[in-house]
Structure formats: C-alpha cells, structure tokens
Symmetry: D2
Subunit: 449 residues, 4 copies
Amino acid sequence: MPASAMDSLIFRDIFSTAPMRRIFSDEARVQYYLDIEAALARVQAGLGIIPTEAAAEIVRHCQAEQFDYAMLKAQTERIGYPVLPVVQQLVGLCRDGLGEWCHWGATTQDITDTATVMQIRDALVLVEADLEAIAAALAELARRYRDTPMAGRSNLQQAVPITFGYKAAVLLAGFQRHLARLRELRPRVLVGEFGGAAGNLSSHGADGLVVQAKLMDELGLGQPEIAWHTMRDRIAEVGCFLGLVTGTLGKISMDVKLMMQTEVAEVYEPFAHGRGSSSTMPQKRNPISSCYIHASVSVVRQHAAALMDAMIADHERSTGPWEIEWIVLPEAFCLMAGALKQTRFILEGLEVDVAKMRANIDLTNGLVMAEAVMMGLGRYIGRETAHDLVYDICREAIRQHRSLLDLLAEHPEINRHLDRAALAKLCDPANYLGHAGVMVDRVLANLAA
Amino acid sequence: MPASAMDSLIFRDIFSTAPMRRIFSDEARVQYYLDIEAALARVQAGLGIIPTEAAAEIVRHCQAEQFDYAMLKAQTERIGYPVLPVVQQLVGLCRDGLGEWCHWGATTQDITDTATVMQIRDALVLVEADLEAIAAALAELARRYRDTPMAGRSNLQQAVPITFGYKAAVLLAGFQRHLARLRELRPRVLVGEFGGAAGNLSSHGADGLVVQAKLMDELGLGQPEIAWHTMRDRIAEVGCFLGLVTGTLGKISMDVKLMMQTEVAEVYEPFAHGRGSSSTMPQKRNPISSCYIHASVSVVRQHAAALMDAMIADHERSTGPWEIEWIVLPEAFCLMAGALKQTRFILEGLEVDVAKMRANIDLTNGLVMAEAVMMGLGRYIGRETAHDLVYDICREAIRQHRSLLDLLAEHPEINRHLDRAALAKLCDPANYLGHAGVMVDRVLANLAA
Amino acid sequence: MPASAMDSLIFRDIFSTAPMRRIFSDEARVQYYLDIEAALARVQAGLGIIPTEAAAEIVRHCQAEQFDYAMLKAQTERIGYPVLPVVQQLVGLCRDGLGEWCHWGATTQDITDTATVMQIRDALVLVEADLEAIAAALAELARRYRDTPMAGRSNLQQAVPITFGYKAAVLLAGFQRHLARLRELRPRVLVGEFGGAAGNLSSHGADGLVVQAKLMDELGLGQPEIAWHTMRDRIAEVGCFLGLVTGTLGKISMDVKLMMQTEVAEVYEPFAHGRGSSSTMPQKRNPISSCYIHASVSVVRQHAAALMDAMIADHERSTGPWEIEWIVLPEAFCLMAGALKQTRFILEGLEVDVAKMRANIDLTNGLVMAEAVMMGLGRYIGRETAHDLVYDICREAIRQHRSLLDLLAEHPEINRHLDRAALAKLCDPANYLGHAGVMVDRVLANLAA
Amino acid sequence: MPASAMDSLIFRDIFSTAPMRRIFSDEARVQYYLDIEAALARVQAGLGIIPTEAAAEIVRHCQAEQFDYAMLKAQTERIGYPVLPVVQQLVGLCRDGLGEWCHWGATTQDITDTATVMQIRDALVLVEADLEAIAAALAELARRYRDTPMAGRSNLQQAVPITFGYKAAVLLAGFQRHLARLRELRPRVLVGEFGGAAGNLSSHGADGLVVQAKLMDELGLGQPEIAWHTMRDRIAEVGCFLGLVTGTLGKISMDVKLMMQTEVAEVYEPFAHGRGSSSTMPQKRNPISSCYIHASVSVVRQHAAALMDAMIADHERSTGPWEIEWIVLPEAFCLMAGALKQTRFILEGLEVDVAKMRANIDLTNGLVMAEAVMMGLGRYIGRETAHDLVYDICREAIRQHRSLLDLLAEHPEINRHLDRAALAKLCDPANYLGHAGVMVDRVLANLAA
C-alpha cells in the first residue's frame, strides 16, 4: 500500500489527478524509455548504423506492459539506475540477439533525461489545459460580476469599494502571464539529451550529431546545443514555473477562505451534499478545496528550491544532485495537478452571494465611502476642508454608532451644498467604482487577443 | 501504479523502506484510527459513559482489513477528511446499532492528530534503531582505524594528518547528540489530542478530562495540557529532528563521495556484483548509496521548512496549514528511512584502503608534514626561525618537485641539529596525529555511558 | 548606507532590535575574537606555555575599539577570513613582540566557531527574556479573559464557543514548550571549539586537552568531546529552534490579523496616534506589527533550511557550507528579535472588545449553539432524535433568517420539555464553555511550576 | 554598526557589491520614491490636474539628500510604511503649500511597488553586465582550451576524456539561456503600479488611466493591464531568475573546488599574495571565492522560495506577505551580485594546469581509455568480443597495477591486429574526444548570433 499522499488509496485524487500520476508512473516511465530506444533504433537503421531487421525487432518489443517490474526493481537496486535493466530486458525479448543493436551509443542519463523532458512535455499539456480552464472560469466571473460592488480590502480592513468582476480580472491577468511564461519556456526546456558518458558523443563516429538531430526530430524535441547532463537550469526552470503558478493558486484559495468566513460569507466553494459540513455544527460551510490547495502550494514552493539545489551538479555527471529531481519533479507536478483541479472546481462552481457583498459594505455604517464623500464634497468646499470635515464626521459616526449618511445630512456646512438624496448618491458604492469596469474589459480583451 | 519515488514499484526500496512505508500506509492509518476508537470505547465503557456491550462490539470490529477502501476514498473526497467515513463504516459493521456509541464526543482532528502521534512514535522506533546501528558501525570504524593515518582536509586541501578512526569518531559524536535529541523530544511530542470541536471538551460533561487522561494512558501517550489542534510546534519539531539527522547523513555521504573519487580512492561503498560499475568504463566504482542519500537529504531539509510553514495555523482548527503535514510528514519519514538504510549499508560494509590513505599523504612530497617539522625544529632553532626556514624549503620543494625530507636533510642549518633519520621521524604522519586517538577514546567512552 | 532591511536606517528597528544587532555587529564579533584570544593567553600563561608578561600585554590590547576596520576589511578580502587579520593587528598593538605569543596553537575556525557560540549564548539570553515576557503577557490575558466567551473557529467558520482566555492559554502552552526546548539545547549547543587545523590538536603537546578544558572554563562554555568544525548539527539546531519559535509567533500574528478584520473586530493591536490608520479611509485600523511578524517568520523558516544545508560539510573543514552560517545566523537572530519585539508589543497592549466577541457569536442567529442544544435536549428525547430534530430546526432557521432560540421555543416536541427560559439558558454560550476554564488553570499552573 | 553579512564593514564587498547595495540603500529607495512623485507631478501638471507652479516646486525638491532620515525612521515606525513620511517631508520642503499637490491620487503601495520595479530594472542592468562578462570569460576558456584533453567525470569517477574547452562551453550554454530568460522577463516584470487604495483608480476621474499611462511612459516602465498589488508573480519570477542564475554559479564553484583539490590540482582560483594560503600549511591553495559563491547560492535559493510564499497575498492589499519582499528582494540581489563578482573573478583569472589535466587521465593506467579501445578493436574482432576481451584485460590491469597499453600490446589476440604504436594511438585521449570541439564551436556560434 502506498505511503505518500499523492499515491494514497484515499487521498490520491484529492492531492493529485490520475492523468498526471499516469505520466510519472513506473510503467509510463519505462514506456518513455522504450519510445526513445525505438526512435533511436529507427534513426540508426535509417542511417545504416544498425540493421533494419534489428530495428524492426527492437521497435516491436518496446511495449512497457511486456516488462517484468519485479526484476526491474531488483536490478535497479543493484545497478543504481533503471535504464540498463530495461535495456537488458528488451534485449532478452528480442529474437536472435537482434536486441544487442538497441541502445547503440547511448548512455543511461541520455535516456533518463530525454524521458524526463517527455514527461515534462506531456505534463505541461495537462497544466496548460487547466490554466486555460481556470482563465475561462475567471473570465466568466469577471464578465458576470463586472459591476457587482463589494468591499475592496487592504490589510484585511475594508478600504474602498471594488467589484467582484474586478477581483476576478486581477487574478485572470496573472493566468495570462502564466500562459505566456509557459509559451516561452517550452522551446528552451523541451530539448532532449544524447551525448554519451561525458556528453561529447565520443563513442560515436562522425555521424554522432546527425543521429542526435534525427533522434530529437523523431521525438519531437529540440536538439541540445551541447550536453546538459549537469546543467539543470532547464529542469529547475520548470520547478520555478510550477512554483509561480501554484503561488497564484494559493492567492485564490486564500481569498476564497477569507470570503467564506462566517463573518464575511460572500462566496462559497461549490456545494455538494455533505461537503464541508458538520453533523453537529449545522452553521458550518468549510472551505475544503481551498485547504488542499493551500497545503499543496506550500510544498511545491519548497520543491522549487530543491530543484534549484539540484543545479549544484558536479563535473559531467553529478553525484546525488540529479537524484533530487527523481524525487521532486513527479511530486511537484502531481501536487500541482491536484491544486489546479481543486482550483477549477472552486472557480467553475463558485457560489457568489451578491447581496452579502453589498451588505458587508454597509457594515461600517458607510465609512468605507468616506474617500468618495471627500472627493465629492471637495468640489464645493475645497479638498482639504472636505477631508478634515469628513474625517471628523467619520470619527463621530464611530463614536455614536450612527451612519455616515445621517451625520452628513445633518451637518449645516454640508447640507447647504448637498441634500440627503445627493449625499446618498455619494455614499452609494455603485457610484464609486473607479475604473474597475474598464480594467475588467482590458483584461478580457487580452484574453481574446 | 504509484507516481512518487517512495512508492514507485522500482525505486521504493531505494528511497524508503517497507517498515516505514507500512506505518504511513492507508491501512495502517485506518488501523491507528481504529485503535484509538477502540481505546476510547473501552475507556468510556469503563467509566459507564457507553454500554459495555457496545464497547465490546466496537472493539471487535476495529480491524482495518475489514474496511472498504474504495468507499473510504469516495467519502473522504466528499467530506474532506477520512475519519468520519471510517467511523461510518465502523458503525455499519457493528450489530444492533451498537456502533452508534463509537467516537463518542470525539472530533475528527482528535483522532487524526492522535493517530499522527502514534505514527511518529512507531516511526521514531525505526529511526532510533537505525541511529544506533549507524553509531555502532561508526564506533567499530573508530576503534579499528583509531591509529590509521590519513590526510585531514580543509577547504578540500590536504592540511595535516588525522586518523580514519578520528574521522569516524567525529561523526559518531554527532549521532550521540541525535540520540540525545530523540530522548528529549519524545515526552514533549508523544502527546495525544482529545478536545472536541474547539479543543475545550465542551460536548463532554465533567468527566471530559478523565476520559482524556484514561484514553492517553490506554494508548501509551502523554496527556496534553491543553488542545494543540493549531499549535503545531510538536510536529514541526519532529520535522526539524529529521532535518538535523539527515543533515549528518548528508555530511557522511559527501565525505564518502569525495573519498571514492578516482584521484583519492581511500574508501568505497560496499561492493556487490555490478553495483556502481559501468559496462564500458571498467575503472569506475560509482558511489550509489551516497547519491541517494544526498538527494533525500536535500528534500527532507525543505520538508522541515514546510512543516514550520504548517505552524501558521488559524484560530482553533486551521484552514490549510494542517494539510501540509498530511503530505510532508509521511514523505519526510520515508525518505529519512531510505537515507538511514543507505547510510547503514555504506558504513557497515565500508571498504577502507589504508595503503591508499597513507600514499595520499605523500602526494605533496611531504609538504603536509610542514607544520610538524616546524614544531619539531622549533625546539632547536626557535619557533619563528623554524617557521621561516621550513616555509622557504617548502616553496623550494614545490618548485623542484622534490620531497620535503630530501631538502631538509640537505640543509646545513638543519642537519647540524637533526640527521636524516630524525628528520624522517618528524616527517612521519604517524608521529603527528595529535590527540586523535585520545579523542576517539573519549567519544567511544560516551557511547558506553 | 546599508541595503538590508535589518540594517536599514529606516527599517532596522522594525525588523530587528538594537541589542540583537549589537551582538552580530562587526565590532562585537571582533571583541568576541579578542575575548577568546585573551582567555587563551591567560590560560596558557597559567600553564606556563607562554610568558606571563606576554599574556598581560595581549589581554591589555584585546579591545575591539582599538582596531582599524578598514584594514581589517582589506585583509579579510585578501585572506578570506577575518581572524588572522585581527591577530595581526593585535600583534602589532603589543609592545616588544610580546604579541607573537597570542593565538598560540589556535586555528581560524577555532576562534570563529567559539565566537559564534558566544554570540548564540548572548543572543539566546535576549530571546529567553522575550519568550518570558510573551508568556507573561499571555498568562495575563488567559487569567483576565478566562471566562470571556467568544466564537471558537474551525476552518474559518464559527464552530462552538470558547473563551478568549482559553485561546491565550493554548498559545501560552506553546511558549512553555519553547522555553523547555531552550533549556535542553543550551548545554548541547554552548560548547566551544579548540582543535587546530584538523581538530585533533596536533600542533599541541600533551597539554592540548588541558588547554582546551581550561579555555572553555574561562569562557563559560562546554568542552567539546571532539572537534565539530564540520559537524554543524549544533548550529542547525539553533536555526530549528528559531524556526519553531517564529512559527508560533506567526500563528499569533495570523490570529490577530483575522480578529482585527473589519467584519470580526474582536481585538486590536495597541493604538498609537496615526498607527495603522489611513488619511482617507477613517474606518481602517491596520494590523501593522502582525504584518512585520508574518514576513519575518516566512524568512526565518527558510533560513532554518539553509542552516541544515550548511551541515553538508566536507571533510575536516568545509568548503562553502560553513559560510552559509555567516550570512544566515545573524540575520535569523535579528529577524527573530524583531518578530519577538513586535509580538510583545501586540500582546502587552492588546485591545480586546469583549462585547464584539459576544456579539459575533450571535451572528449565526444562535446556530453556533446547536451542538449545545443537541446535548441538552438529548437528556429528554434521546441523543439521536435530538440531533435530527435540532439539525432540521437549524436549517429552518437559516432559511427563515430567524434565531434558533425562537424556533426551538415554538416547537411542540421541544417546548413540552423545556420552556423558553430553559432553552435560552441552553443557547447561552457562557453555559457551554466545556473545560476551557480548567484548561486555562492547568496551563497557568505549569507556568508557576 | 551593521549586523548583516552584506552590510558588514568587513564582509560587505565579499558577499555583495557597492553598486548593488547602492540600489537598495535607504537613500536610493527614497530617491526612487521621489523620482516617481516628480514624474507624477509633471504628468499631472501637463494634464492640467495640478498647477504647473506646484509641479515645478515639487520636482525641485525631489532630492533624497535633502531628507531627514532620523525623522523618516521615527515616522515609518509609527505609520508602518515609509512613503507617507517621505511625502510629508516633501510637502514641508515646498514653499507656499504647493507641496500639497504632490502624491495626487496615489496610494502608498503604488509608489513602493513602482520603486521596487525601478530597483529591479537597475539591478538587472548590473546582473546582465556580469552575465555577459562571465559568458565572455567562458567563451575565452572554451576557445583557448577547445582541444585540451582532461578527464570527463561521472559520479566523481573518471569516465572518458573530454576537453577543458568543452567543459567551459557546457557552462557557457547555460549563461546563454540565462540571458534569454532575462530578455523575456523584462517586459513582463518592468511594469509599474498606479491604482489607488484598491487598485481601481477610484479616487481618479475619467483621466485615471491616462495619468497611469503617461506616468509609466515618463518612468520608462510598462503600463499594467490591471492592478497587481496582490498578484506578485512578477516579483517572484525575478526571485526565480536569481535562483536559477545562482544555481549555475553554484555549479561552477563546485567544479572549481573539486578541480582545486590537492589530489586533482587541475585549475586554481587566481592567485594573489596570501590569498587562500596558510602560514603553517604551505601546500594549501584554498578555493576562497568558490566558498563564498557556494554559501550565497544556498541562501538565494531559499529566498526564491520565500518570494513564492509572498505570492499568497490576501484580497486587494496584503497583510504580511508583501513585507516578505522588503526583506528578501534586496538581500537576494545583493548576494547574487557578490556571487556574480566572485565568479567573474575566478573565471577571468583562472589558472589552468594543462599538464596536470593530462597526467590525471593517466592515473588509471589508461583504463579511462577502455571505451575507446573497445570501439577501436571492435572493427577487427567484433564489438561484443572486443568488449569482453578489453574488460578482462582492464581487470587484469587493475590487479597487476600495470598499464592498459602494456597488457593490450602483450595480448596475442590483439597484437595480431594492432601493433603497439597503433594501440598507443587508441589509448591516446587526444584521439577520443568525440564531438567536443564541434560542440564548443556550436555554442560559440550561438554567442555570436
């Protein structure tokens, strides 16, 4: 039985997803190895380096499900790396010793690194799909609630009104940046490895670089300018990308948790029977997905640091730092996948209590509109005077627990300029939303672009 | 198929161990829950809070293997935590509704936290056994090589001679400290949790604290002075302990890797057929276990930081930080177990090349003995004069690629005081080992104490 | 002008404190070096190793303010470590070449490590004083608000009532554990270093260990069992301690921030004119100190990981890992000091709005008392029936936006057993505080012990 | 006196550089604030929002050296942020109350964030210059040693020959990627902030976005699509970039340290009198700069994680996470600057011992050429036969401590095909360098592009 949260029989679909786990499963890893061995055989047969018959036989057996995993485990423990044991089984599966032509001129880390890059490529496809779905969900929220007032909060204090659509658009802009980052890193990161023991293709003849180029073509990967066995900036960059994206997921989960508080109650994670409720505390509506996101994000951030640690590789093939990636990369992607899924779940089904948002603005008896009133009144009595007057009235409102509007309407210096109806308009958050709507539109326009 | 390195069909016994994984497996976790429910039922029956018949029926069904894990998974995903689903299945297994008496007055986190502490307790037993085995192996090395000269190195430069036993004793002293830390943290950490929704036992009558005390007695855990649902220093302290211990394992693996270098070749990881060798590079003897240790250590260190992050818990029951522990704690223990196992393997079978150690000291043509010569000659010609003279001769030895001894023996100012035999004695590392042996004895004496 | 936040002319007393910075200042560091050199001279003179006259002259000049820091900087950049430059200046200050007797048989890292331990010792005195002050402030809050009801919160949802004193006592228990940790680590950590180039005192004669013992006595430090130049668990343990303590500070700051929210408004950081207020948003009362604490905690946690990284030291004197400590240790202590100070400031002057605490419990129209009502009613109509009935009434209360008490009092199955007065009693949080008070007393009793 | 390593009177130019510290100094920070205030005044005067006379007077006083830093410190401690205190002093400096027009419609975080971006912009200019200098130094090494054989090492074991130029080119390719990353992140990161209390420019009229656009033009920064007060991916991305670059610096320092070992002795940090030497151990040549780099890298990596932590910002203006950046960003840049400087120093003056590189290849009695011999012999006796035969001979060579060439030349199955001269050619590392040279050329060509 598994011991890690992401493989747990109970927690695995909470902290991860099946498609992502599949990419980093043992069988998939072996299949990636075999896809590379098959591609190498095809390329080398095409160049006349190995017999066509051998290539055909090798390709025919590059099926991970034919492999014996118990033997693979035992041999990996003995040798230290799983590539050679896979090759040995592959040789064994081929008839007439034709398998001896497989893995021609390759080194363990060539296969492992290239497989890792293929895992990253496939994993990033899943990540991108989730990023786009999240962006779409945020765009929908931004559109629908473009003009829905709520309290903007600074230092966990109500500050001035914003709209819920604006809040969504701020998040959306972040995902647009993440998608741009993904576009930029792909060509730099999705580059294979094929260089032999020290990377300089020394066991290859003059055709070494041709084999390398054709192999990468075959696999749909970029050709490396030079070996990167111990230059791990590409892998660490992926870790940073995961860290940056999960950081934004963490920000979303933080806001959702805060807005779900009993005392705030503005949005809710999607309801499902029994979800987040308590049998003895019927008033509770727990933010479940947000908790999972929070936790995963805290771990992925540290994984990013561990992947940077893995960069401190020695000489041409490193002694320990490389293996950091073996542990961390699958886990970071799996946790990330879980956090993305939970975030999608929240955003695609978010329950929004527009009335409560409006009601919360009134919690301060209108004080949250003080800045608006100052600006509005300034036109009549001067900015500074307006500021000082309104500030004094606000303190009085706090003292007397009365509404700002009432006190403004009673004040002789004010009601000579503005009657209660005009003051009520000034105190209406819907009239003090600034450029929230326009900003929403700008972000949505970027999306279309 | 699992996706994490520690559960991988291929890597799991490289990066972890079966006994440690077992403790953090789903089935074991459910069994810990059930052990607590059973103990609670027994205690409450003993106090007359629930019927004796109910307790007997509950205890009879507290067997993890009777549980349906697919259902458990589905319900956990719905509810957010696995405790209630376990309780519901337990209720279902009991006849005549007697199961309704189980989990009386407990809250989800009471069971989860107490189970976590029991996992920690059992995991620390495994850790302690490995720490003691490692200490024993180091003690054996310290004893055997107490007087075996080798180059002491500072800044990766040969400095002055030490003994290999001294090197082992320095490490051993660290493990003695780790064992002391373990002794100290146990009573503080191995404390259960039982407090209800907000920890104040409000759903219990006057006997709440009695139930709590008897429950902890039954489980062999300490009684908490007050709830610690959101005071996670105990758990983070365990994470720090794992981080500290693995730090020392990392130091060992670093030294072994460095001493195994082709150019140094003083010690080797234990040999096994094919282990760490290459089919085309027969000169290689790769440090396999050291690589695994290095990688695990780099990850556990980051896990320790994540567990400190989990301390930033909100109010009486936290919203996300707690779940960090669910991911990190099992993994930190599992990786630690793997690193301990690899370290034991190295130390219990370490191959030591005493002749090569001695030969390496001579690599510098005796310059590594310069300090010894300065000290020895000082008696005759004064300390400062001796220093300046020897320093000049050393530079000459570097320039001429000749041995220090030859140049010393030729020097008129020196050979008037000391003949070649006397100088050779000064240049013999075995005569300049300082208090290495005595220090070894001191550390070994601590072990006995 | 300084560039770091902790030395900044503007921020230094926000993120740190003057007494802590003093300990880690250049002048103090030099003075620690000189204190060790002076002690060594005294010890060696006492043992007849160096002339008494030399020792007197050396001791006389061991005054950091006599040193030229520009020269020290230049020489440190050349040599790589500041100890030798300090010794050279000391030699220069002494008359008649008597200074040549200073630093007799010591190595750079002996002085540096011992100075570091002395810095830690003095820094921990400051830390302990703050921990005790914080514990005292929490004890005062626990005592004063022992029976003051407030909402206990789980998953940021109101759960069941607790008292504010109980909340303080939960925190207080954590500080009691931190003080115990401090007591335990002191004898293990406050151990000096004196071993020479490779730690084995090879440049000393038979009296090496005697000098070591007397030197440590003189300095008030423990004698090491063996050199620890590259066994850095002691230093990393201090980092972990700082990480654990700041974790608890982070929990406090999180709770204060949440309780200061506009919508919660139960406690406030101490008021000072202009503090945390806004010129245009008069309703704001920003949690300033809590922000600083949050930030410092996030950084110290990472520093703890960096100090574990520093444990991966090579051979007898490490090549880079050691210098991690030079950067991290001063900063971790300084940030910690700032966070402790800010926490003291909050807790010693915390404004508590008891009425608002009580009012918040009523926010859910009494639903937060549902568990209490279930328990109370169970006596009359059976536990399960009571649960189902109350749960249904709660959902009705949510639907109708009416109070739980009203609906209970109207219900025929309920009011036949309990009249409105009796029901009101059940719904009174003050009657459902469980063992909160007793638990407070238990924790306070520990404090006295 | 400062307490941090980067501000230390002794260490500051070891762990940082003056130009980088200058950017993050208090005075520079104030000047950045003032530059923004001046730009804002100019823009608003141009748009007729504030009087031209006021703008002129404001701009005239935007000189950081006119400000009182003690007062600034005191007021910042009171208010919590330094921007308002700066504005207040600026107002005070202006005649006739004209200063009241400054900071019109701006909020504290607008100014702080924009200043931070300007600091990043200027700091990245310094970083880029160092990256280019390092790339140039590596290019020079790659060119000069393009065909200089040395042992390629895998798992710290000699594997097959490479060239030192190849080793340099592998590193160089990494810096080319870093420079590409820098180009990509600049337009995304170098974007200002101007949005008011909640980011939606609510205190501005219709011209809010026009002011924003013109202000960013004036400052040479990009205009934000929407506020990013609590979307900190831009800042965290910079942290990741620093982490990635320092990771590569760490790799370089690791290789230099390893190559400087007494037993390897292939390259040396540049020599300067007394640098890295010992007064009593004349054989030592310590890698000083490499140690500093190693340490800084370990810290910056954790800073990157802390900056990702800072992404978990609440609502519209965060409560603590933001302040993480205040501590971490200056330090990460300063440590990075120090590490870049030390790396430049090493690479621009690296001493390379070509003869020792060649001699080390011979350490294994030619075994490091086994793969080459297998490949060469395969042509005559078949690949598999060649492998088995050579492997056996290698083991014999190890057993007898004789050279591979001797044993090959003696072997009847071999010397019938190849005479000693031919075999010597096979055993010559210069003839088995694979595509090392071509790869060097490819990377150098990229540089030119």
